[in-house]
């Protein structure tokens, strides 16, 4: 295993009195460095490449960078497999700011795949000059002459591509951060671009900007909680490195419990906010609705994955030994999340909001797996994140294609009868919904099994959570089946709603997402084995 980066405490020396240079393992960091480097080049492209070739340059560069990073990561992972054979566990001497271990490699690879699919959907032009989902000029007032002028001049916000890359780099670092400071900074690195991307929708821009503001304010609020929790844990253990915190817990007397327990809970607030667990979920529906649809898909898949990765690392590397003090409260959060997400999705009338509430419910299901506290739980959670993310990106990509008068038709009533007129699109969407519901032969079923099974074995609390989870699943089945009925068995007089023909990029994204949903439902063994073999954290 490779601690990508670390500083060694050298015995007698007081830290801070002498410069102890950090050691970099550039090979292990290379995928992240490639993504960051390409993002910076993208900023330069923005400055120097003329407008007419900018779209092609940005999309090409972004995709090439992501693919290159993914290939590097695969190489790294293969070597890592061989290197692990003769592994000696390193002592507590090396503290890594970035830990590239099994889960980190697995999650980073998945994020890169999500990012490639996400960029493919974001780059959809539908015959226009720039990406169709994004406003031609972010600074122009919605509906103003300036905006129309910008549209006519062929300008576009191609800055979204470097911004996406920065977000991707933050997401890759978030689950591999070995100390809470790096985790906090990567949280911001992934969040700031997303706040901006949320506010750049081409249509319904006021809602988009409000969503952006709401996301920003609540995001900053929750990261302040995360930080205060970090401060308390630093006070508790004298270090922000997760292994140090883990080492301090068994030694710490009860006189410092007043720092440990609030610290853990405040850090948890920050992390649970990012995954959208109840009661920290209020941003999810508004932001998912207001953001440009491809961004919503990417955000729903990748942010959730990165944040759950970070939760896994904090829980399994840092604070597991104090779990009797905090896990009951998190179990309550998991139950609330499943119930609230499932029940509120029943009343939704907007497709994007409905998928948002469904994502809340899914966050609850995944939390059940987190609380299993063993390696099968970790691998189950990672499998769930992969399958949910692939399905989600495809689902939101389809939502972005259903249009009425050029704008997205997101109201459910507009989807009535879609199955008759566009059988392929509606059929794919119905299949993805069945996967969300967890019907057998879809990835959703395998994934639910993968998180519920370790939870069942973990004890009484786990059993209760699984029962609630099954009931919540039943409720969501009702919701999804209702949409399918609406698409296939309801007549509609509304001929204005039609599915626009996407370019090959979006088609690839949808096809890949849907195909993987099927593959992971029918032949899940390969990925299950991979996630199981990658489920050991380096402590």
């Amino acid at each position: 295993m490779i601690p990508a980066l670390g500083a060694q405490y050298l015995g007698a020396q007081l830290p801070g009195v002498d410069l102890v240079p950090a050691t970099f393992n550039y090979a292990a960091l290379s995928p992240i460095l490639v993504v960051l480097g390409v993002a910076t080049v993208g900023v330069l492209v923005e400055a120097f490449v003329p407008l007419r070739s900018r779209y092609a340059a940005q999309v090409g560069l972004t995709l090439a960078g992501l693919v290159a990073a993914f290939l590097l990561l695969v190489l790294l992972a293969v070597n890592h497999q061989t290197a692990t054979a003769g592994l000696k566990v390193l002592g507590g001497a090396v503290l890594g700011s970035v830990i590239i271990d099994g889960p980190a490699l697995f999650l980073q690879g998945t994020i890169l795949v999500f990012a490639i699919l996400g960029v493919l959907t974001m780059a959809e032009r539908l015959g226009g000059v720039g990406a169709d989902a994004f406003t031609p000029m972010g600074s122009a007032t919605p509906g103003s002459g300036q905006e129309a002028l910008a549209l006519r001049a062929g300008s576009m916000t191609s800055e979204v591509f470097p911004l996406t890359l920065f977000a991707v780099a933050g997401m890759m670092l978030f689950p591999s951060a070995g100390d809470l400071l790096t985790m906090f900074i990567s949280l911001e690195v992934l969040s700031l671009p997303l706040y901006l991307l949320t506010g750049l929708a081409r249509r319904r821009r006021l809602i988009s900007q409000e969503a952006s503001l709401k996301y920003f304010l609540l995001g900053a609020f929750s990261s302040a909680f995360f930080l205060f929790g970090t401060a308390l844990l630093y006070g508790y253990s004298g270090s922000v490195y997760l292994p140090d915190i883990a080492a301090a817990i068994p030694q710490g007397g009860s006189e410092l419990n007043g720092l440990l327990v609030p610290g853990v809970f405040l850090v948890a607030v920050g992390l649970l906010f990012k995954v959208g667990a109840v009661p920290f979920h209020s941003w999810i529906p508004d932001v998912y609705q207001g953001a440009p649809t491809p961004v919503t898909g990417f955000m729903a898949a990748a942010t959730k994955l990165a944040a759950f990765g970070a939760i896994l690392r904090v829980v399994y590397v840092g604070i597991e030994s104090a779990r009797w003090q905090w896990s009951p409260a998190i179990a309550v959060v998991a139950i609330l999340t499943m119930v609230v997400g499932a029940v509120l999705s029943v009343t939704q009338t907007d497709v994007k909001r409905l998928l948002a509430y469904s994502s809340i419910a899914h966050a609850g299901f995944i939390l059940v797996g987190v609380l299993a506290f063993d390696r099968t739980g970790v691998s189950g959670v990672m499998f769930y994140l992969v399958s949910y993310g692939l399905t989600t990106i495809a689902a939101f990509a389809i939502v972005g294609l259903v249009r009425a008068d050029g704008a997205e038709a997101t109201h459910l009533s507009q989807w009535a009868g879609l199955g008759r007129r566009h059988p392929w699109t509606a059929g794919t969407f119905a299949f993805l919904l069945l996967a969300f519901a967890g019907i057998p032969l879809t990835s959703g079923f395998t994934a639910k099994f993968a998180v519920f099974e370790p939870a069942l074995r973990s004890g009484a609390t786990g059993t209760i959570m699984v029962v609630v989870g099954l009931l919540a699943s039943a409720v969501t089945v009702f919701v999804y089946v209702r949409i399918i009925v609406l698409m296939y068995f309801t007549d509609s007089q509304n001929d204005a709603v039609a599915v626009v023909t996407p370019s090959v990029m979006t088609t690839i994204a949808i096809t890949f997402g849907a195909a993987m949903t099927l593959v992971l439902g029918v032949w899940p063994t390969e990925l299950l084995q991979l996630s199981a073999s990658a489920s050991q954290f380096l402590r």
Partner: protein, 99 residues
Amino acid sequence: MSLSHYIYLATILFSIGAVTVLLRRNAIIVFMGVELMLNATNLAFVTFARVHGTLDGQVIALFVMVVAAAEVVVGLAIIMAIFRARRSASVDSANLMKL
């Protein structure tokens, strides 16, 4: 006076910041509440650094300032964009979400 008084002060400031975020409707004031929370956190870091006799806490506080500065830029840009949109006669002002 023991050093825990500093921690109490940090807690009070943090809570006041949180209350500001929860109560105020003006986006700029809400944002200032968040900044107050970050500042309170920094006070806690600096104090714990003194307790533990290492400079780590001070360095972390320095990074928090950098992060906060970047956050301020993005946040104020978003707030300005919204202000510009609202002050001009806007098209789809119906059906806005509640903030």
